[in-house]
Amino acid sequence: MLEKSSSGYRTIELTVLSGEDLRIDRRLIKKNAFAIVQTDTSFDYCTTKVDESGGSHPSWNEKLVIELPMHARFITVQVQCKSKSSSSGNNNNHNKIVGFARIPVSDFIGGYAPENYLHFLSYRLRNAKGDKNGIINVSVRSLKVAADQHASSSNYLSKAPRLNVQGYVPAYSGFASGFGAPVGGVVTGVPVWCANRA
């Protein structure tokens, strides 16, 4: 029983809400921030849309459904600033990193609140040097726990549409080099709402 649960996963709903006071080299960024979400157990990752109008206080409100393995300890969120050159072509190497935050699983599972509680969590973003480059706001809710056999899908991350525009799944032509780990990672753009809400 223990073995089974340790190899299973839980489904969580993570909404990347917004960023605050985002900076690169101490200067507030002007536009085009987006967030990349990953767990510490997989190279798979998922990105939000690029916020073109929010400047240094972007608002994404993007809901991601994540199948989180039982042994996962962290969800990581990295915020980047999409560069001009990458918007026109496939050269994505010029995106600038704003900062990185680690969300401990223990911040939303196993605390004082019940398992399915809607947590609102905020974290300090830091760059590689450790500079404080802003704050990321998310909400997290644990949906269900499943045994191993349902986790056969290779997708740990899937994207639900934005809440306010039903059925709209933004396309992402390019992002994120310089993210470190996810070489050959799979981007999943599977809208799960149709299965969950039909």
Partner: protein, 255 residues
């Protein structure tokens, strides 16, 4: 003028409470460092307790002391005022019973050690978190009365950051002449959100600090100042979770 302002705030809270949301719960904690006469702290409990007790439907409050050597001789930074290990709630008569428990505890508990806030805040957070399992419309208020400067600043910040995600607000009254600069840091009125040692940032401001000497020096009521932010903190919590007032839910069901 001042008192009418209190009443309008009071009415606002009462309306939110009785008409819209389920009962709130109140807890009180009092530091055991006796740099300030117990009577002064008792006055603080009475003045503030008399206003907020009405938001608790059964008027039974958990009441703790912190920084004392308790009944069994151990130093505790969160002990029940009624001296019992379990069943920590005192009183069906609200503030009067808290005062009675406080008075009797004064005879049995001696001053000990530093002033630590972390354990009391964690205990209140646990109560607030556990209540969510059966009632999501409850909101908790922890009233802390202290005459000493806290010595566990980082632990207190960590506890506050964790608690900022729970239905809890913390009112801190500083009595006496100690330097309460630290308390102003906990009360994030300068716009800077509290940060934990693990880079987590407080979801919202849940602390209001007021030094009680202001009561005596001017016309501003400590009660008024202390409760000023409470309606906003309460509504921020309920609104971001889309928790609807009870009678609105009923009206929608009927329609």
């Amino acid at each position: 003028m001042v008192s009418s302002h209190i009443f309008s705030l009071d009415d606002q809270m009462k309306e939110l409470h009785t008409d819209f949301y389920a009962s709130k719960a109140v807890a009180a904690a009092c530091s055991w460092k006796l740099q300030v006469p117990a009577g002064v702290k008792g006055k603080a409990i009475t003045e503030i307790g008399e206003v907020i007790q009405f938001y608790d439907s059964d008027r039974r409050f958990p009441a703790w002391g912190f920084g004392g050597k308790t009944f069994d001789g151990t130093v505790s930074h969160c002990f029940n005022l009624n001296g019992r290990a379990g069943g920590f709630e005192v009183g069906a008569d609200g503030v009067e019973d808290i005062m009675a428990a406080y008075a009797s505890a004064l005879n049995n508990v001696s001053l000990a050690g530093p002033t630590l806030f972390g354990q009391v805040i964690n205990t209140a957070a646990r109560i607030a978190g556990q209540s969510l399992s059966y009632d999501r419309s409850k909101y908790f208020i922890l009233l802390m009365i202290t005459d000493g400067v806290l010595t566990d600043l980082q632990e207190t910040k960590d506890a506050l950051v964790r608690a900022s995600d729970l239905p809890l607000s913390i009112l801190i009254v500083g009595v006496g002449g100690a330097d309460f600069t630290q308390m102003e840091i906990l009360d994030a009125d300068n716009g800077r959100r509290l940060e934990s040692s693990t880079d987590r940032v407080a979801t919202r401001d849940i602390v209001q600090f007021v030094p009680m000497r202001e009561v005596h020096s001017g016309q501003i009521s400590v009660v008024q100042a202390l409760l000023e932010e409470l309606p906003g903190q309460f509504l921020t919590y309920m609104r971001c979770r889309d928790i609807k007032p009870l009678n609105v839910q009923m009206a929608q069901t009927c329609a």
